[in-house]
């Protein structure tokens, strides 16, 4: 059991990162920390994808003489797109936070809720 876990360490780490990010996003009231949580969660997913495509002892997917087995290049290619998506989400979220700070003078979600009050 333990040996199995250790040999699949990267999957376990990916899941732990995903959950840390998920938890940070939902429980922290600081908006910057929410965005950090989002990035940690996405990093966990990227690690998961890369692990799916990894072949132990495989070489990079370029035809070179003497290579035995290749790493699956598709997940890496997908994650390249995933990283772009994640960067744009982060940039957009940070831009919104700047605007929110200008309007409310704080980056704390709870304080913003208080300031907002019954405003419609």
């Amino acid at each position: 059991m333990i040996a199995k876990l250790i040999s699949n360490m990267h999957f376990l780490t990916a899941m732990v990162l995903f959950l840390i990010g998920f938890h940070t996003m939902l429980t922290h009231s600081n908006l910057i920390k929410k965005v950090m949580g989002m990035n940690i969660m996405e990093t966990g997913i990227f690690l998961f994808f890369i692990s799916v495509g990894y072949v132990r002892g495989g070489s990079s997917p370029i035809a070179v003489p003497g290579a035995e087995g290749y790493i699956n290049p598709l997940p890496s290619a997908l994650i390249l797109t995933g990283i772009v998506v994640s960067v744009s989400l982060t940039a957009f979220a940070l831009a919104l936070i700047v605007k929110l700070y200008n309007y409310y003078g704080t980056v704390d979600a709870d304080k913003i809720m208080q300031l907002r009050g019954g405003e419609e």
């Binding site: 995903f18 990010g21 998920f22 996003m25 939902l26 908006l31 929410k34 989002m38 969660m41 996405e42 997913i45 998961f48 994808f49 799916v52 997940p75 997908l78 797109t81 995933g82 998506v85 744009s88 989400l89 957009f92 979220a93 919104l96 936070i97 605007k99 929110l100 309007y103 409310y104 913003i112 907002r116 405003e119 419609e120």
Partner: protein, 491 residues
Amino acid sequence: MNHLPVLLVALYLAAALGLPLLGRNKKFPAGLFAVGVAGCGLILAAASAWHVAGTGTYSYFPGGHQAPLGIEITIDWVTVFLHLTINLLAVLVLIYSTADLSRELGGGRAKTWYYSLFFLLLAALNGIVMAFDLFNIFVFTEIGTIAACALVAIRPKRLCVEAAFKYLVLSALGSGMVLLGIGLLYMVTGYLNIGAMAQALPKAFAMYPWNVLVALSLFVIGLGTKAALFPLHVWLPDAHSSAPTPSSAALSGLVIKVYAVAMARIIFQAYGAELFSRIPVPDVILVFSTAGIFAGSVLAIGQTDIKRMLAYSSVAQIGYIFLGFALVTMNGIVGGILHIFCHAVMKSLLFLAAGAIIFKTGIRKIEDLAGMGYRMPLTMAAFSIGALSMVGIPGFSGFISKYYLAFGALAADKPVYVAVILLSSLLNAVYFFPIVVRAFFGHKEKQMTWDRLPWAMTVPMVVLAALTVILGILPGGLVRIAELAAGAWLN
């Protein structure tokens, strides 16, 4: 092979990129240009529908690389139905926006940016409904998410920015879950193509049931968050009520449903109806959609702001769509697909009418609407048609979809959901009828003062109201397309 549907996405992407450049010229008529592009989009969608009606459904392979190595795009009846819905609504909403936007966004170049974002959103929506590849669905979903959030945040009010941030965070959570689900499925099947995956899944399910099940729950929760399935709807009321009116109409009318369609496509075409109903996921979705139908209606009754009330009503209406899909019977799915169109038409109509009232009088509170039927008769008549259709009065399009949903519930041997549909219709009446009654009969002075609206606002409302009535009386063609679409999902 016919290139029309792909050109549709290309057209919108090109327009989204070109608009900021063209908008550098201060005299550039951005609104007119936007309506023209969306009109071209509608023509493309109609031509593609005509082509499919003539020669049948087909798969499109960009670059000519065959699946599963290449990317597959499916042009089936679901795609055709959604393309027509999206582009028709887009044209009408954009016509409306030419009159409304200056008030909501202020001057300057905000309008050009607005149309650019709107086209990005349209490209994403059109892309999601024809993608037949899980990763493609994910990428289009992300484009749609960012564009939709930006369409809320573009209005220079602090409430909008806050609502957009909440929307963005919850959507990002949802997309994270969807991506993880895609990874889990890719791990056990080795495919991203939905058709190839459908063949590999039964074997994968026998060997690695947990991967397949966890992926399914991630899809349901992730896309459910984006589609505002109760109790994941918390972002919706703020975002949809604070956005500029054309955004509200497009977000409530189109965006949330496209995610529901993406979820249904994964469930029915990758997992298959048989595997899907062998595990108790449909029952869970049924419970949540029922809870959503009631909770959305009850919360809507308590609202004092008219746009907020309409937003809560969307939570209830998306419940009907999920209810239809989760019944996993022919009539249920037909009802769900029909409700996508019917709700898109009537909710946009209601949002546009509410927006017109706010545009002319600045009134947002429901209690202040007394006598509005005498000040803005055309707008209130359109609003009343939308409201009657929402309640499901026979003769309006809302009745047709509920009728099919009820038959679907009977066919699934779950008559309790017929009661759900009936009871929730009564709840809808509780919050829609007082507005109509107050507007036409709630005022002492019965003096007609006709507040004229710009024609760009009245024309879309009249067209939508006419569609609601015509489809309520002659639903034949629409039902036929929905049946063809549902047939493809159930096989």
